[in-house]
């Protein structure tokens, strides 16, 4: 009884001064949400407009041309859009998977093994985070040209596999999620490095790996400059570069705005689907942290 009244009293006391601070974050978050969603909703509305409606009707008035736009997009140059979509899935999916694997193993190693040069490697990686990948694109192109790989799928996949920030993330996550005692126990039971990695470390790191996978997937999905520089053949283009060829069609040709906007909308769908399906892993991530503390 006394406890509850005190709790109520405390709550009352706490509630009042908190209120103005409680509203502000919500308002800021709402503003942020509007800021992020407004352009997306614009794309959604603009994709429904026909050529004639796009520049003549008011911005958020839905049009009547969605189906025609989709049909035009699917028919453009014999359906090259779907090829670009597939390419993007290969680059983003394959790149993110490989990158996650490399990051997880490197992060685990850096977190749990003591060896000479460990700090040096880690510091170099931290330094690597500070180098924007844009700066590296041209040197990478020259390197890949000299080994004859420029223009191939690998020229886009390989540079994105080693991602310093992901390794950093994996190291931090492995440091927190894998208790040393557990590894110790495994070693006493006679488990080798490979078994420890597979049976102990990786399952514990799974939520962190999902995070890395999603980060990398989105980063590669959105990457423009690297494939733009690396790839010459338009049948290997990802969506970003492919859609750009519609926009910069040269002076003779108008930009194909309808197709670009519809294409941008369609290219969002896999990302949204991925996030919706992967969300539950993120939730495990949060709760597992809570239980441990």
């Amino acid at each position: 009884m006394a406890v509850t009244t005190r709790a109520v009293a405390t709550r009352r006391v706490l509630k009042r001064p908190l209120r103005p601070y409680g509203v502000a974050p919500t308002a800021i978050l709402l503003l942020g949400a509007v800021y992020c969603l407004l352009p997306v909703s614009w794309v959604l509305v603009a994709a429904t407009k026909s050529k004639a409606e796009l520049f003549s009707t008011s911005t958020f008035a839905p049009g009547t041309g969605l189906m025609a736009n989709l049909a035009d997009l699917a028919a453009y140059r014999g359906g090259v859009f779907w090829l670009w979509m597939l390419n993007t899935l290969v680059y983003a999916g394959g790149g993110a998977l490989l990158s996650t694997a490399v990051s997880a193993v490197s992060g685990y190693t850096l977190a749990k093994y003591r060896f000479r040069g460990r700090n040096l490697i880690f510091n170099v990686l931290i330094g690597g985070i500070l180098v924007p990948s844009v700066v590296l694109a041209i040197p990478q192109y020259v390197l890949f040209s000299s080994i004859g790989l420029a223009g191939s799928y690998w020229s886009v996949l390989l540079p994105q596999i080693l991602h310093p920030y992901s390794i950093y993330l994996a190291r931090v996550y492995a440091g927190a999620a894998i208790p040393d005692s557990l590894l110790e126990a495994g070693r006493i039971d006679g488990a080798g490095h490979w078994l420890l990695l597979r049976r102990v470390a990786l399952p514990l790191m799974l939520p962190g790996m999902v995070t890395i996978f999603l980060f990398q997937f989105v980063a590669i999905w959105n990457n423009f400059l690297l494939p733009f520089i690396m790839l010459g053949d338009d049948h290997t283009f990802p969506l970003t570069v492919g859609l750009y060829t519609l926009l910069a069609a040269g002076a003779n040709q108008p930009a194909l705005y309808n197709l670009i906007i519809t294409g941008a909308l369609v290219s969002l769908i896999p990302l949204i689907a991925l996030f919706l399906t992967m969300q539950r892993y993120w939730r495990t991530d949060l709760s597992s942290g809570a239980v441990k503390s």
Partner: protein, 437 residues
């Protein structure tokens, strides 16, 4: 000890992943390398272009020439393709053929990225007009590309709204200014035209019409005269109208510009022969309401215009199959069948004089002007260009910066031309070009 073994294992895993990558990657990279090895027998040429449906045009060639197969790769057009080509040429794996805009060609030549085609094109010269041919020789004895399309400038105007506002089609730029004042006075929301600070190509064309010679080659050195009297005259003319407020200052090709074309608040567009494609896509509502006329002249009785855009087909210096590539480029740009395909499939205005034969019925958007192509041909005959310099991209960027600033601060347009000149000269000196004083 333990960690040492782990490091080795990790390296092995990495090496495995890499080698797996290479082995399956070789399948993808097989196509380009195949093109470089064969000397006799069938060759495969890669061709970067952004002409729509170029793959269909090339398919016709491929069918007739099993020994020279051309592989088209559609690129983002204009400056982007040029930058990408220069990078690829420096890295040593450029495509065999490249669509080169006339203003970018000198920078390709300066970078040794394109081959001199003189020997393979002796008989081709007669297929093109003097003005266009000068753009691929840069005024020298060499031939650096085969002209593909050209962009003679003309005046697009809204016939219905000209009648509504009671203005005549201007014959001179003075009349154009008068019309601009009259229209804007009648309806303050309406502008006769707009000055775009984002389209240096358009400004270059207008300067060409006025007789400007931005670059010329004198012996071994370049002469730069972007701030010549003709160019300053053009700049100050537009600057005066913008300052007066009777001409709008929004750039071309923006959504706002499209909107203005659609809702009839913008009445003219001094543009090139490729205008119908842009208008039909960006201003579909205006179909049948636009017409073309020659550009207004600087003094009555004159008859001249400039070029905006246009491109050629160049062969890479590093291409191992230059002869085959030249053969294809010649066919593409001079053969009657190819020219007619360029017109119907690629929607380009061919540079070759024979190309006129393929231009029979007016573009759909201009069905109200059945003699569209006859008018165009007459205008085209009066077009004059100038030699472009080796760093046009620098000049063009200087145009955008300087004229943006001039619009923002309301400062003089001819000063902005001065900035273009200084920037260009400074860049050419820095790059080691010899300049004539």
């Amino acid at each position: 000890m333990r960690s040492g073994r782990l490091a080795v294992a990790g390296a092995a895993v990495l090496a495995l992943a890499l080698s797996a990558g290479c082995s399956s990657g070789s399948q993808e990279s097989a196509a380009p390398t195949a093109a470089q090895t064969s000397a006799a027998g069938p060759v495969t040429l890669t061709y970067w272009s952004w002409v729509p449906n170029m793959d269909k045009i090339v398919a016709v060639w491929n069918k007739a020439h099993p020994d020279i197969q051309v592989n088209v790769s559609k690129q983002a057009g204009g400056d982007d393709a040029a930058a990408k080509f220069l990078t690829a040429a420096k890295a040593g794996n450029p495509p065999d053929l490249i669509q080169a805009e006339y203003q970018m060609l000198p920078s390709f030549v300066a970078a040794d990225a394109v081959a001199d085609l003189t020997s393979g094109t002796a008989q081709v010269k007669g297929e093109f007009g003097e003005g266009v041919w000068g753009l691929v020789t840069l005024g020298t004895d060499a031939v650096y590309a085969i002209p593909q399309d050209s962009g003679p400038m003309m005046l697009y105007y809204r016939k219905d709204l000209f009648e509504k506002f009671g203005v005549e089609v201007p014959k001179t730029w003075d009349e154009y200014a008068e019309a601009a004042r009259a229209v804007h006075k009648a309806d303050p929301k309406v502008y006769l035209g707009t000055f775009s600070s984002k389209d240096p190509g358009s400004f270059a064309g207008l300067a060409q019409q006025a007789g400007a010679q931005w670059w010329s080659i004198q012996g071994e050195s370049w002469k730069v005269a972007i701030d010549d009297a003709a160019t300053k005259k053009v700049a100050d003319y537009w600057g005066g109208l913008v300052k007066e407020g009777v001409i709008d200052d929004q750039p071309y090709f923006t959504p706002e510009w499209n909107k203005a074309l659609n809702d009839g608040t913008l009445l003219t567009w001094p543009s090139a022969v490729w205008g119908p494609g842009v208008l039909s896509s960006n201003a579909p509502k205006g179909k049948g309401k636009w017409e073309i006329a020659p550009l207004p002249q600087w003094s009555a009785g004159e008859n001249a215009t400039g070029f905006w855009g246009g491109s050629s087909t160049a062969v890479a210096q590093k291409s191992p199959n230059q002869a085959a590539a030249t053969q294809f480029a010649t066919w593409l740009n001079t053969d009657p069948e190819a020219l007619s395909l360029l017109v119907t499939e690629g929607a380009v205005y061919p540079a070759a004089t024979k190309g006129g034969a393929a231009l029979t019925s007016a573009p759909d958007y201009f069905s109200n002007q059945p003699d569209f192509w006859q008018q165009t041909a007459a205008i085209s005959a009066t077009a004059r260009g100038f030699t472009f310099g080796p760093d046009v991209n620098v000049t063009y960027n200087a145009f955008k910066d300087a004229f943006d600033k001039a619009l923002q601060n309301g400062s003089s347009f001819s000063d902005a031309v001065g900035v273009m000149q200084e920037t260009t000269v400074a860049d050419m000196q820095k790059s080691g070009f010899q300049l004539a004083r």
